[in-house]
Symmetry: C2
Subunit: 214 residues, 2 copies
DNA sequence: CGAAGCACTTAACACTGTTAAGGAGGTGGG
DNA sequence: CCCACCTCCTTAACAGTGTTAAGTGCTTCG
């Protein structure tokens, strides 16, 4: 395989899916190209730069603008879902996003989105504020999702059938937490939780727009 | 200083503020106690366990329940702000939260909150869904905030030099991004951005409650 | 033919988390 | 009194990390 910038990025992403972020080392990545680790430093000045570009490669370039005739809120939700999907599609994708500061490669996409929202009636500051809130929410949700499992979901993992066996060691006494037990179902479907908050933020933006429209 | 579990956690947090997450090593922490690094492994089975407890120590134990007479939404917002504040108060606090899965130490707090929301009329699943969304939003926002700076704010400075063999982008020409430039002010005040999304999610919960109340 | 630059190698540095084995200090029991 | 035991820490070491410095073939060009 040829050793070029984009090839390295792609292979690194594939390797990330395979071994996870912790085991993704320069030496391990170099091995994928039958090359010594320092060779990578000719193409990237350090590991962080490589990670940055991996994240950019994961971020959707599509949907920077609504489809023809699509309402701004439908488009925003669709795009956010897509971005969320990209993050959780790759192993440790959110953790990667967490330790990577955004590069200026995102500027063009951001600009297009601001323009689209501007066409819908938003002032640039309003639009950016909404986009930032959504962006934070997306990475936070993806993070919580891949955090092995959310605490409530972990509680749900106790098989109902194991009840007579008593509490397995390490498992706390769930009867202390009746509300939590009753609520566990909500955490079972992380996509629903994500949509819930996403819709709320978009609704907030819509309210702002309507109020100002009057 | 005595070498006890809680003392280690507290010192580790202080050290985190001082040197940052990347430089927070077991050897460095041990030095704070005039002790060799492996001594810490008598108190914690590994570094991750220590990190977990650091995060718990940062999470607010107060406000698990509304003040007397306080409306549920005011309480929820206040508590969320508090938690957000705790995260950004410590250096790399959000990054720490990002690489730490929640432990069951959070169960009691969660249970109290579910109970409080239940008293306000929420079904357990609704309440948990809202809390999870808010929690995601908090860590995501804190993360984005400490990510040095938001992309737009970064655009405001830009003392960068050109890349060697990179894309022909060269120096970012900000005039290409008029909307972004116009919106930069919104990113200047991250607290306002945070409040914006937080209010939106809480408003979503309120709407759900009112709809069901009719 | 020689210079220049690219793309890589080998060797090494300064770290990291973590384990194994052992030793000092105190406590309790026979 | 002495030996065993437990707690808490030490020293030594392992396997691995990101990263830099110096050197080596290879291609391309003047």
């Amino acid at each position: 395989m040829k050793l070029e910038r984009q090839a390295i990025i792609d292979t690194a992403i594939a390797l990330l899916d395979e071994v996870g972020l912790d085991k993704l080392s320069m030496r391990r990545l170099a091995k994928e190209f039958d090359v010594q680790a320092p060779a990578l430093y000719w193409h990237f000045k350090n590991k962080q730069e490589l990670l940055d570009h991996m994240l950019v490669a994961m971020s959707p370039a599509e949907l920077r603008v609504p489809r023809p005739g699509q309402a701004w809120d439908d488009w925003l939700i669709e795009r956010s879902r897509l971005q969320y999907g990209r993050l959780i599609k790759h192993r440790d994708g959110a953790r990667l996003a967490a330790q990577t500061k955004p590069t200026e490669d995102l500027f063009p996409g951001l600009e297009s989105m601001l323009e689209a929202l501007g066409a819908a009636g938003f002032a640039p500051e309003e639009a950016l504020r909404g986009l930032l809130a959504i962006s934070s929410y997306i990475t936070g949700s993806a993070l919580e999702r891949e955090g092995a499992r959310s605490p409530a979901a972990e509680a749900a993992e106790t098989p109902e059938t194991a009840e007579p066996a008593g509490q397995p060691d390490g498992m706390p006494d769930m009867s202390q937490y009746p509300n939590l037990v009753a609520a566990v179902g909500a955490a079972r479907d992380p996509d629903a939780v994500f949509d819930y908050g996403l819709n709320a933020i978009v609704a907030g933006m819509r309210a702002e727009l309507e109020k100002r429209g009057k």
